[in-house]
Each structure stands twice: as structure tokens, then as C-alpha cells.
Subunit: 209 residues, 2 copies
DNA sequence: TAGATTGTTAATCGATTAACAATC
DNA sequence: TAGATTGTTAATCGATTAACAATC
């Protein structure tokens, strides 16, 4: 039964469900029970059933879940069928790594353009994606509906770049800078990928008790 | 008062505390109260005091916390003073981005070496870090105490590479591949940076209600 | 049908928040 | 001293787990 508000704990688990279901699907598994999925993911069957019940009834008593169907449902819940568009700000090493290696299309996104200031890269294409000068960002965004801006600029210009994205009306920012963006708008969702936080967590875990 | 077991929710907040305290410190702030810190981080003062009390008593009634001291305590809790060493497997785009741009030393790590198979890069240096052939990995690890292996190899060799790191006795793996590593050892901590999970979370948040 | 397994309600557990005595 | 703020204990809230009737 569709509920109003889904907790952030559940939302954070959804991509993992998708990943596991996709793997099961590609390995040819047709059906799976909540307890089998739980065992393979290191969760409890109860939790999986409870999580899924936030969005609907996808299983069948005595049978379990059809893998292909459930995978599709989770994809749909995640918005993977909504033809999201993205642009990326910053075509340095990390930006290039994402442009050339990250499979945006497998996650329901089309990466439409990149923006940078470096004369050697502006005007070229990286992995099929055109690179424009960042001065033309607002013009581009006015003409092309863009859902997400990927932020891989230097920290020194992160806040200003984010503000430009917000002012141009993007819905989400995927932030790879080490800055806590000073954006507090209900209109814009911010998802941070803080490498340092991740490494420091690992540092804690391997350190002296 | 030092407690036995610290919840993972608390651990995940520690790097953020460090980041904010470091920023306060560098901006010249000398003291801060739990409520002021809470306001600036979007938490409650209660939570901050509760979190810190897992590790000791760092404040003073009527005064609050000395920023420099608390920053140092959190750094120490995170293991930032333990001279951790790391190597990186995979010097492709993403690997290079980390080698050249990620400030390992600011997080208590020294990045000692990179490993790859590509003849054009093996034998060179990237950002001051020597690149060796991955065939020499075990020899290197036998001779150099290494705490963390950073995994930026293609997904197809991720599991095998991780196993080699584990067999050579690293304590932690910082995993950037999109694979859920099939390592289940109490000896090795794994920290995943799953880009796709992060983007799909954002996808959910900006999608139709 | 009998066995299996769901979706959901109730019970438990853990994490966050509130309150306050201690004290700088 | 008086005001401020801690560390900690108690209360609340939310998330996870257990149990079970419904049913394929």
C-alpha cells in the first residue's frame, strides 16, 4: 500500500535492492523469496517485506517475487524510467572519469553536456559528450531541460557553481566537491559524494580500538 | 566515558564533525558550544553531546568546546594520526583522479604506490606516486606494511583484485568498483563508494511523488 | 490439498531528543 | 557570584524484527 512518507533509511536501501535484483535477473533467476534475497544481501526477510510494502504489493503468497517484475518495479520507484537528463560542471580528471566511465544510461540518465573553462578541452568531445565553456551554462540550461547537475569543479568555485545551477532551475545536484554546499532550497535535492568522509570512516574502522 | 561499542550512525557522523571543526579552526574560531555547532550542522545539541560522550569528555561546563582541541580529538578518534599507508590498484581515469587530486595526506594517509597493467603507465610516476605492474603486487605488499588498498580497477577484475589484497593482509579496502565484493572476513573492513547508488538516491528524490 | 510465503500488525530494539543536576 | 553549558539519565520517537492470518 503506497504510503505518504518513506524514511530515508528505506530510500538508501533501494539502489542496493535494484543492484541485487538486476544481478539475479541477468544470472537468469526467475523467482526469489524475501528470505532468500535477505540471506544473499545480509538483511532480514522481514525488513525486505516491510521496505517493499512502502510502495506496493509486489509478491505472491507461497511463491515469492518474480525477479524481473520486482526489478522493474524498483527501477520505476527509483525514477529510472523518467528519462532524466544531466550535465556535468568540471572536466578535470574526476569529471573525465565520470564522463568516460560512469554508465549514466544504465541508471536512467542521459549526460548531455560538459562545461569547463580550460581552452584545450572546450569545444572538444569527451566520450561522445560535447564540452562547452562554462560562460555559456545559463544559455544552455535555458534551452535544455536539465534535471541534475554533476559538480566536479574545484572546491574554490563549488559554491558559486552550485548557485548557478540552482538559479537555472535544476532539480538535483550530484556533488563531488569536498564542500558542504550552502544551498538550502526545497526546490533542489543535493546528494553528496564526500570521498574524505568515506576514507575517514574506513580509517576509524581499521584503527586501534 | 569511553564505551565499548559505538554505533555505525555515530561513526558516520564523525568525519562530518571533523570537517566542520576543521573549517571553524581554519576560520579562527576558538570556542563553540554544542548548540552553536548543532545549528551550523543541522543537528541537535543533544545529539552532538551524546555522540561525543561515546569517546570521552571534551567540553567544559559554561564554556563549550575548544575548537582546536576538539578537532584534534576527533582526528585522533578517526585514526588520522596513525600514519596509515595506502596503495591504489588501477590507474585509469578514476584512479588517476584520486592519485593526482585526492589529498590523502590531509586525511592521515600516505599513498605509497599505484599498480596497473597498462605498459604506457607502468614504470612512470603519477603525482609523485610510482606506478608498478600489478604482477609485482604481492612482492610489494610483502615488503611494505600497507593498511588500505584502494580499488579502482574495472569491475571484471574487482573480486580477484580484492582477494589478492586480502590474502596479502591489508586491513581495509576502499572500493570504488560497482561490485559488491564477495569478501567476508573479520580481518578486513570494506568501505564502498557506489556512485550508482548515490545517483539513484538522487534520482528517487527528484522523481514524481 | 498441504506447504510456502506474502503483507501487515504487534513487539522489540536502538537511536534521538529532552531534561536537569553538576560545575566551570 | 550568576549565567552558561556540559555530560548523563530518562523519555520519546522511529526503525527493525517477530508473529501470524490470509492466500497462492
Amino acid at each position: 500500500m503506497k504510503k505518504g512518507k518513506v524514511s530515508s533509511a528505506v530510500i538508501r536501501r533501494l539502489p542496493r535492492y535494484y543492484r541485487h535484483l538486476d544481478e539475479l535477473y541477468r544470472s537468469g533467476t526467475v523467482r526469489i523469496s524475501s528470505s532468500a534475497l535477505a540471506a544473499s544481501m545480509g538483511l532480514t526477510a522481514s525488513q525486505i517485506r516491510q521496505d517493499l510494502s512502502c510502495f506496493g504489493e509486489f509478491g505472491q503468497q507461497g511463491y515469492g517475487y518474480n525477479v524481473e517484475k520486482l526489478r522493474g518495479e524498483v527501477a520505476s520507484i527509483l525514477g529510472m524510467n523518467e528519462n532524466h537528463t544531466a550535465i556535468i560542471l568540471g572536466a578535470g580528471n574526476l569529471g573525465r572519469a565520470l564522463i568516460e566511465n560512469f554508465p549514466f544510461h544504465l541508471n536512467g540518465f542521459r549526460l548531455m553536456a560538459a562545461f569547463d573553462v580550460e581552452p584545450r578541452v572546450v569545444g572538444t568531445r569527451l566520450g561522445g559528450v560535447p564540452v562547452y565553456h562554462v560562460d555559456t551554462l545559463e544559455n544552455y540550461l535555458a534551452d535544455h531541460r536539465t534535471d541534475v547537475g554533476v559538480l566536479t569543479v574545484p572546491g574554490s568555485v563549488a559554491a558559486a557553481s552550485a548557485q548557478r545551477l540552482v538559479d537555472s532551475g535544476v532539480q538535483g545536484i550530484w556533488n563531488f566537491t569536498n564542500i558542504e554546499l550552502p544551498i538550502h532550497s526545497d526546490q533542489v535535492m543535493i546528494e553528496n559524494v564526500h570521498f574524505a568522509d568515506s576514507l575517514l570512516t574506513l580509517s576509524y574502522l581499521i584503527s586501534e580500538p
